[in-house]
């Protein structure tokens, strides 16, 4: 009998609900939830709503509909109605798998220089972000380069072949305060078998980078100390989630700053050549330190509760 009532309501819904409901309109009925408890035997009926009238014979077919609305009686073919394509509404992402809102992200990574042909600046880094909303975070990050800078063979070969000294610099550290925005997230089915989630993010910030020239023009007289300069950061990356709190990440970030380079010319007078005021070239050099950052992201706390049920 209970099944009969469910069947009646489904039939009535098929007539009442337009079948062209678009998939992404949240105000529409969402989905059939088989985990919800069954409806109670007796419920309050809103005024004007159809009333379920039991038949004397226990009829569970069209007879009930005919009693409710005789005009609809001959027009319903239950088999055809049941076979109709419902175009039921399904959200593209039902519940965000790895919710970021009000969670910390701890992101250790390894950075590799992408655009400096003459000197490499690899090094470890760490970023910590706090997600104010699910898509916006504030945070800090830092890179440590000291002792890891390396002058490339390319620099040596170019200098030897063309007899041109190319000013190069090394870095000690870099620290930034950042905003992170997550404009896109999604999921992939791998080999049609398993699903994993990912997101894209962009990051921007401001901070400082400590650099100094490597003396190549006049190494006999010149030694330089590290000095911090204001830097700006622009970047973007991809995170792939292995579970709700652990992800792998790949990012490309550009640390932009105005660097001071070694003076390519040497004063003829020895005393002047040993004067530190003559060691640096005039002006500053607009520098992009583009680096690839590969690492992991750990979201804390590990668990949370969704605000709304699925």
């Amino acid at each position: 009998m209970n099944q009969a009532r469910v069947g009646l309501f489904v039939a009535a819904a098929l007539l009442a609900v337009p079948l062209t409901a678009s998939a992404q309109q949240p105000q529409q009925p969402k989905e059939i939830n088989l985990d919800e408890p069954e409806a109670p035997e007796e419920t309050e009926t809103p005024a004007g709503a159809p009333v379920d009238v039991p038949t004397e014979e226990g009829d569970s077919g069209l007879g009930d509909i005919c009693k409710i609305d005789p005009a609809a009686c001959p027009s319903i073919d239950m088999d055809k109605a049941a076979a109709r394509d419902l175009k039921e509404e399904v959200y593209a992402v039902q519940q965000i798998y790895a919710l970021r809102r009000h969670r910390f992200e701890v992101n250790p990574y390894w950075a590799v220089t992408m655009n400096d042909q003459f000197a490499g600046h690899p090094g470890p880094g760490l970023a910590v972000n706090w997600y104010i909303t699910n898509v916006l975070a504030v945070g800090v990050n830092g890179n440590f380069y000291a002792g890891l800078n390396s002058v490339s063979d390319f620099n040596f070969q170019t200098s030897r072949a063309a007899r041109v000294g190319q000013p190069i610099t090394e870095y000690a550290w870099n620290a930034n305060a950042n905003f992170t925005y997550v404009p896109a997230y999604g999921k992939f089915a791998g080999f049609g078998d398993f699903i994993f989630h990912y997101d894209f993010y962009v990051v921007g910030g401001v901070g400082a980078i400590s650099t100094r020239p490597i003396a190549v023009v006049d190494p006999d007289n010149r030694t330089f100390n590290f000095e911090p300069k204001i830097s700006f950061r622009l970047g973007g990356g991809l995170r792939i989630f292995f579970n709700r709190w652990f992800a792998a990440m790949l990012e490309v970030s550009d640390y932009i700053f105005f660097d001071k380079l070694e003076n390519p010319s040497i004063p003829q007078v020895r005393e002047q050549a040993q004067n530190p005021d003559t060691w640096l070239a005039e002006g500053t050099n607009f520098t992009n330190n583009v680096q690839a950052q590969v690492g992991i992201s750990i979201f804390l706390p590990f668990t949370w509760e969704y605000r709304l049920p699925k």
Partner: protein, 271 residues
């Protein structure tokens, strides 16, 4: 306010969807379709010259996860800051055509042209043709700004690549001396190399998409036209000859942006 623990995926595994396929009603964008993708590729991490390569990829997909096709492109070069600096400081300012006695001119006579660096001696990728197998292991969807939803997939590809190169012509003791200005000319060569990479594709409609692709193209070539190797211990020093010994291995990388058109235009939908 009602709450529920974060167990959505686990419920699906043990609930009424247990045993069900990960995806139903999958749109089979590739199966039985020909994919035509006009593209533009950009070389990355270049030392002397950057290459922009307009190209085309044609792939026939036997299944939604496997296709075979060919990609090709024609390279257009422009110089890096380093090349511009060398041209200015080491060639134009030295004026070695008129000041050949200068020490720097004598020391660089075999390595630097007295004309245009890019035209006379820098290596360039003229064209690339690459038959390739394409696999599509990942299918999914992407939410952009939580408003726009688009189908996506990831493809990986592998195959041989035929690369039409121009490099500085060989010179040395057995032929034209490398210090002879006549030796600063480019010569064509065909290099064969493996190529592989992966792409991320978006499908806003059933017959049109767009994507981005990374391609590795590792092979050895002489990008500078310098005499860097061939002499001394382990051949790590110049030998006054420019030849195959001076080629260096480069993991050449390209980033490609492409538009994709599928034929036939109607897409199949999985059961």
């Amino acid at each position: 306010m009602a709450t529920s623990p974060a167990e959505a995926q686990e419920i699906q595994l043990t609930g009424p969807l247990a045993g069900a396929p990960a995806v139903r009603k999958l749109r089979l964008y590739r199966e039985g379709r020909l994919e035509l993708s006009p593209s533009v590729s950009f070389t990355l991490l270049d030392e002397y010259q950057r290459t922009i390569m307009p190209g085309l990829r044609a792939t026939y997909h036997f299944t939604d996860w496997l296709g075979v096709g060919v990609w090709g492109g024609y390279g257009i070069q422009y110089t890096t800051n380093l090349t511009d600096e060398l041209q200015e400081k080491a060639i134009d300012n030295r004026d070695c055509s008129n000041r050949g006695f200068d020490k720097a001119c004598r020391l660089t006579a075999g390595n630097l042209t007295r004309g245009n660096l890019a035209e006379d001696q820098l290596g360039r990728m003229q064209w690339v043709a690459a038959p390739q197998l394409t696999f599509i292991p990942f299918r999914g969807k992407l939410a952009l700004f939580a408003e726009l939803f688009v189908d996506t997939d990831v493809n990986i590809f592998v195959g041989p690549a035929f690369v039409g190169l121009q490099e500085r012509r060989e010179c040395g003791p057995s032929g034209t001396a490398c210090s002879d200005p006549e030796s600063f000319q480019l010569e064509s060569r065909l290099a064969v190399a493996p190529t592989f990479g992966l792409g991320l594709n978006f499908y806003p409609t059933s017959f049109f998409g767009f994507g981005v692709e990374y391609r590795g193209l590792p092979f050895a070539w002489n990008t500078s036209g310098f005499d860097n190797y061939g002499g001394g211990p382990n051949q790590d020093f110049p030998d006054t000859a420019v030849n195959g010994d001076d080629r260096q291995f480069f993991f050449n990388s390209l980033l490609t942006l492409n538009l994709t058109f599928f034929l036939p235009t109607k897409v199949k939908i999985q059961d």
